[in-house]
């Protein structure tokens, strides 16, 4: 949407396309910064900036792996500071740190600007489109259950995004979850845990890949939960817009003027 000529919308509140519903919504800047800290890129996902968020998540996995940050984190948490210092690769660690901090900063800064634009978009109140039908996808606004979305993502990160019609992000998150599960030996170790072989289970686990998982599952649950809350809000706004158009000029006679 580039045109801002008279009559054309200047700031859209949301757009529905083959990728799902993309929208601008009020964000707590600290929450956005926090999710960037949990996993660089997650803060940008919350702002609807899907491409740069995906780029940042790729950078995080790549540079964390090369710099061996997760292993260092495990050593640090268990008091093994000498080992932690030894394992980190300085060729990658500084770059990792800079990207990590700047991603946090950028998401926080964007959230502040985002919140101003939300107010402008809401005051402009352009018509929200509730329905999309294309060659290979159908998307629509509907009343959703935030709890169901959270449970979907808890079961398998990405499924909550599927529930919310964000198919690109859903496929991306599910692919990575498969990779984390297999490279960390998560399921095999969990199985050994059930059999009671605790020490063997711990031995099987690979800390580097395991440590990505809490952030990913947490971020996925959070994203699914608030996205469905906000879809509900978009649904309500759109429906009121429609009712105002269609039933805005009733000729009802509620009270007779006699007497």
């Amino acid at each position: 949407m580039t045109g801002t000529a008279a009559g054309q919308p200047r700031r859209l509140k949301s757009k529905i396309s083959s990728s799902g519903v993309t929208y601008i919504e009020w964000r707590n800047p600290f929450m956005v910064a926090w999710w960037s800290a949990a996993f660089p890129g997650f803060g940008h996902y919350l702002l609807g900036q899907y491409l740069r968020a995906t780029f940042l998540t790729l950078a995080e996995v790549l540079m964390n792996t090369l710099a061996r940050v997760n292993e260092a984190l495990v050593y640090s948490c268990s008091g093994n500071f000498r080992l932690a210092a030894e394992i980190v690769d300085p060729r990658w660690a500084y770059g990792y740190m800079l990207v990590y901090l700047l991603a946090m900063w950028d998401s926080y800064r964007s959230a502040l600007q985002n919140n101003k634009l939300v107010q402008l978009a809401e005051l402009e109140n352009t018509r929200i489109s509730p329905f999309f039908i294309g060659k290979s996808e159908i998307h629509y606004l509907e009343k959703k259950s935030p709890l169901k979305a959270a449970i979907f993502s808890f079961g398998f990160p990405g499924m909550g995004q599927m529930y919310n019609h964000r198919i690109g992000l859903a496929a991306y998150a599910m692919t990575w979850w498969f990779i984390y599960i297999s490279l960390s030996n998560f399921y095999i170790a969990a199985l050994e845990l059930v059999y009671g072989n605790i020490a063997y289970s711990t031995q099987l686990l690979r800390p580097h890949w395991l440590l990505f998982m809490p952030s990913v599952i947490g971020g996925s649950i959070y994203h699914a939960f608030i996205t469905s809350l906000e879809h509900n809000r978009l649904f309500r706004i759109e429906q009121v817009q429609y009712f105002r158009e269609r039933y805005g000029r009733p000729t009802l006679k509620l009270f007779s003027k006699t007497g």
Binding site: K13, E25, W26, M31, W34, W35, A38, L73, V74, C77, S78, G79, V118, E122, L123, N125, E142, K143, P146, A150, F186, A189, L193, I198, A199, S201, T202, L205, P207, L210, L211, P214, S215, I217, G218, G219, I221, Y222, F225, I226, L229, R233, F235, R236, I237, Q239, V240, Y242, F243, R246, Y247, R249, P250, T251, L252, K253, L254, F255, S256, T258
Partner: protein, 157 residues
């Protein structure tokens, strides 16, 4: 006829069916029950129930503690998986309960601005339909069929 609804797709179905069967759009009035706090966008952005906000904070804390628990667990007896899960759920529960208590108390102390706890059954839309008395029963049935919360009749004066 007067019906109260919550906002969902069934409500649109109800109105479309009424129109399809010959009730003119001018004889239908739809009133969003959002008060006058927002004139443009009808639902305020920053409001959410206390439970919704507490859940968000809970998930954020669960994630942070999940990473810590997993890391620490490598040297503890039960192993990283168990400690990761224990830390996550513990953190989630603690943060949720603390946030709910704090926000609940703050909300209650805001005299005059207390928002009622939003339950699903609270009406969000009131629909008024003017029709002949012979059709009143049919209109009422249609409203109830499409999930009206309550339906009432107002006789012509």
């Amino acid at each position: 006829m007067i019906g109260t609804f919550i906002q969902n797709t069934e409500l649109e179905l109800a109105l479309s069916v009424l129109e399809h069967h010959g009730v003119p759009a001018e004889h239908i009035a739809v009133v969003p029950m959002h008060g006058r706090e927002m004139t443009q966008a009808s639902v305020s952005a920053k409001t959410g129930t206390v439970n919704e906000k507490a859940f968000e904070i809970g998930i954020a804390c669960a994630t942070a503690l999940g990473v810590v628990g997993t890391s620490v667990g490598f040297t503890l007896e039960l192993g990283p998986l168990m400690w990761g899960v224990i830390f996550s759920f513990g953190g989630m529960l603690a943060a949720f309960l603390i946030a709910r208590t704090v926000m609940g108390r703050r909300q209650r102390s805001m005299i005059g601005r207390v928002r009622r706890k939003r339950s699903n059954a609270q009406p969000e839309i009131t629909v008024l339909v003017q029709c002949e008395s012979e059709r009143a029963e049919w209109v009422s049935q249609m409203m109830l069929k499409y999930n009206a919360l309550s339906v009432g009749e107002m006789e012509e004066a």
